[in-house]
């Protein structure tokens, strides 16, 4: 029986079982901690892929600025959870306040000019005057504020810090931030042809990341913000928690049986270390799964409703949808915002898991191209498909490295030790990751063009 002839339910069942099998294999063959680490990132990747699928699979919007939305989510995680830096606020708060007022004032004034002087020939001149004055005023407060803030103990802080709230709140906040950005981008760029929308999103995401990297007063820039608080327990705290130790003793009773004294302690200690890692990762996995399930449920409900039908109709034929009374531009904006918000949530989750905001980590290869590979390979237009894509591609991305090394070692096993070809191949094995990723994409596109779990008709 050929894969192409299988129906979707079977495909999904087979694919997800295979995926689960692979993770279990990693758990048994390598380690459970690694398996769970991969799982957690698979979950986050799936959420991100779902966001892209909402835009591309449902409505045909080609967004290659995913990186920007993920970065905004990451920034949200930092801004929500980091405690405010008192000294920095003291140093710059008034100027920041004034510059914010000036900025808002400029926008309001420009808006008024736009409204009141419509069709007047002075409009452009007045507008430019207002904007330039506003810009200079804002800068006159903003620049000293930035200098003051960044000078505050720059090796350790040098930024304003955040709100000091529980980091889990940042997930919805990240979604909202990304949605806000998407609203602006959408208002500006959704009027453009679809492939130009793509390039516009790419450009704007680069600009977003440039801001995160260079506005130190806000994000600490390339110096990173480390040690974000966690929504789950710390392993080191678990090592000393009575309840956890007794839990481990219960679970590992068979391993501990018959051991006494020092030997028992050593085994117990190792078991605790191992279990603590697994436990923390399970907590994360629980949280991420919850988010994924919520978003997936909402997606499924929406896609199978008249809303989803309307969106797919718009995707298939914008002109006809417009003639059938659907507000194509408005709907595009809506779906662009929704999809971006999901990417923002995923970005915040990722930063939470990393425990740090690293603006230099936002590169298109990892955050835009890789996510697209997930959606296309998994099956665009199909929610389960993109989730599978998120799982599969992340798994391959991580496991291609050791697999590449293994492959090169095996291939060159017949060559003598120290052979230059052998050395070269083994040294370069890491680059197998890229080759494998490319081949997976090309093969899936060729042999199951709709992805592993393609879209279904209703």
């Amino acid at each position: 029986m050929k894969l192409n002839q299988l129906n979707n339910a079977t495909r999904a069942t087979l694919a997800f079982s295979a995926m689960a099998g692979a993770l279990i294999l990693v758990g048994v063959g390598q380690s459970w901690a690694l398996s769970l680490t991969i799982l957690n990132l698979c979950l986050i990747s799936s959420v991100m892929a779902l966001g892209v699928n909402i835009q591309w699979g449902y409505a045909g919007l080609f967004n290659i600025g995913i990186m920007g939305f993920a970065a905004l989510g990451g920034a949200a995680a930092m801004l929500v959870s980091t405690p405010p830096v008192g000294n920095a606020w003291a140093a710059g708060s008034w100027n920041i306040l004034f510059s914010a007022l000036c900025f808002v004032g400029t926008i309001v004034a420009a808006w008024q000019v736009h409204k009141k002087l419509k069709n007047s020939r002075f409009q452009t001149i007045v507008m430019i005057a207002v904007l330039v004055t506003g810009y200079m005023l804002t800068r006159s407060f903003f620049d000293p504020a930035v200098d003051a803030v960044e000078a505050t103990d720059s090796a350790k802080t040098g930024f304003l810090g955040g709100l000091g709230l529980p980091i889990i709140l940042s997930w919805p906040v990240g979604g909202v931030l990304a949605a806000g950005a998407a609203w602006i981008i959408g208002k500006v760029a959704l009027g453009l042809r679809s492939d130009y929308l793509a390039i516009a999103t790419l450009g704007i995401s680069e600009i977003v990341v440039a801001i995160l990297k260079n506005e130190d007063w806000l994000t600490r820039g390339v110096k990173n913000v480390n040690g974000l608080s966690r929504p789950v327990p710390y392993e080191l705290d678990l090592h000393h928690s009575e309840w956890f130790i007794s839990l481990v003793e219960k679970f590992r009773a068979s391993d501990l049986a018959g051991l006494e004294g020092l030997a028992r302690e050593a085994v117990l200690k190792e078991a605790i270390t191992e279990s603590a890692g697994v436990f923390v990762k399970l907590c994360y996995a629980g949280l991420f799964t919850a988010v994924l399930v919520i978003i997936l449920t909402l997606c499924v409900l929406a896609l199978n409703s008249p809303w989803g039908r309307m969106m797919r109709a718009i995707r298939d034929n914008e002109t006809a949808a417009e003639a059938m009374g659907k507000d194509v531009t408005g709907r595009h904006l809506q779906i662009f915002i929704l999809g971006s918000a999901v990417c923002g949530i995923a970005g915040a989750m990722l930063t939470t898991l990393d425990g740090q905001l690293t603006p230099t980590s936002y590169i298109p290869l990892r955050f835009t191209f890789l996510i697209w590979v997930m959606v296309i390979v998994g099956g665009s237009g199909n929610n389960l498909g993109s989730i599978l894509g998120g799982f599969l591609i992340w798994f391959v991305w991580i496991e291609a490295e050791p697999a590449g090394v293994w492959l090169m070692n095996t291939l060159t096993a017949w060559l003598p030790e120290g052979n230059s070809v052998k050395n070269h191949l083994v040294q370069s094995a890491q680059h197998m990751r890229l080759v494998v990723m490319g081949l997976v994409l090309l093969l899936v596109m060729r042999f199951t063009p709709g992805g592993i779990i393609p879209e279904t008709s209703k």
Partner: protein
């Protein structure tokens, strides 16, 4: 009123730090963008593998250059790489035709939407990306030999007695000369030859051109050959002027795309203008005009600040800001690009 020498000094500073580097960088981007735009015009998709194909072509050229050097072959004052270039181009043409045969042709025959081809090119990008690193490694490779300068800054100072120096590297000279020749050749080809005309016809209206007896496979083949040649030359010139590193070439993809789109994708002339627009906007917007202005205004007016519109850390973002603005004001690019 500033004196003549002051004005000359200001002019030289500007030429040295803005004009010449912008011209060279712009030419390299333009050649890269020409490849992107040709593929877009004929094959109707944005080729994301372009940067890595560029790296591949340069890599082949470098390997051949090393081989030639080991044989003791040199090209007088010119870099040996120019001798190796034809083989580099041949290698890249081969790569392009092979990927076309095994990847793109299938989707073309199926009349898949452009995005499918874009995704396929993403796959090719990953594979070539890994391949190049596999073969030549990740290191920086310098392969420039021959005379380095046409004019050295110090020589210029002694020659003219001006305060400011003017340097022109031979790689910059070669870049601009080759770019001009290539562009002239390309336009001659597109306008005058039968193959070129059929390419334009195909790009303009695929169905109509098929009716008039144009062989689409041939058009596609020629397109790949020209694109591969342009790409390799752009990559080699870039490598001669700076240096070769796979990662850098991958990164070049974005400004090249920006150039092609700003100019109007699918339009060769647009790609060239776009290349210069992006290169010069990067330099002009982040250049501090302090020195130039200091020469031009009376001493007491000399500016204190750097007179810099935007810090160089935003350089990369500048090309995208230009891109976004152009898209908003003129959605099809400076020269009206093709609508698919």
């Amino acid at each position: 009123m500033p004196e003549m020498t002051e004005i000359l000094n200001a002019l030289v500073v500007f030429t040295n730090f803005v004009l010449i580097p912008g011209l060279a960088y712009g030419s390299q981007l333009a050649l890269g963008a020409l490849g992107v735009t040709l593929v877009y015009g004929i094959l109707r998709f944005s080729n994301f593998a372009h940067g890595d194909v560029m790296a591949f072509g340069t890599m082949v050229t470098i390997l051949v250059t090393w081989w030639l050097q080991s044989l003791g072959v040199s090209f007088g004052p010119l870099p040996t790489a120019l001798l190796a270039l034809p083989l580099g181009i041949a290698g890249t043409v081969l790569l392009c035709l092979v990927t076309d045969k095994f990847v793109y042709r299938y989707y073309r025959a199926k009349k898949s939407p452009p995005v499918t081809l874009v995704m396929a090119s993403l796959g090719v990008m990953f594979v070539v990306n890994g391949l190049v690193r596999f073969i030549i490694g990740t290191d920086d490779q310098r392969f420039f030999d021959g005379e380095r300068f046409i004019m050295k800054a110090r020589d210029f100072k002694t020659l003219t007695g001006l305060n400011e120096g003017l340097a022109i590297k031979s790689s910059q000279g070669i870049t601009v000369v080759i770019a001009v020749i290539l562009v002239a050749l390309l336009f001659w080809f597109l306008q005058k030859t039968r193959a070129g005309k059929s390419m334009r016809a195909y790009s303009d209206n695929e169905d109509l051109s098929l009716l008039s007896g144009i062989d689409p496979d041939k058009v596609v083949r020629i397109t790949w050959i020209i694109a591969a040649a342009l790409t390799t030359i752009a990559g080699v010139l870039y490598g001669l002027d700076k240096s070769f590193k796979p990662f850098t070439y991958f990164q070049l993809l974005l400004p090249i795309f920006a150039a092609a789109i700003v100019g109007g994708i699918g339009q060769p002339i647009g790609a060239i203008v776009g290349g210069y627009v992006i290169a010069f906007s990067e330099v002009l917007i982040t250049y501090p005009y302090k020195k130039v202005v200091t020469y031009l205004v009376p001493e007491s007016w000399a500016p204190e600040g750097l007179l810099q519109l935007l810090g160089t850390e935003y350089k990369f973002a500048v090309s995208f800001m230009i891109l976004v603005i152009v898209l908003l004001v003129r959605p099809t690019g400076i020269f009206k690009g093709k609508v698919l």
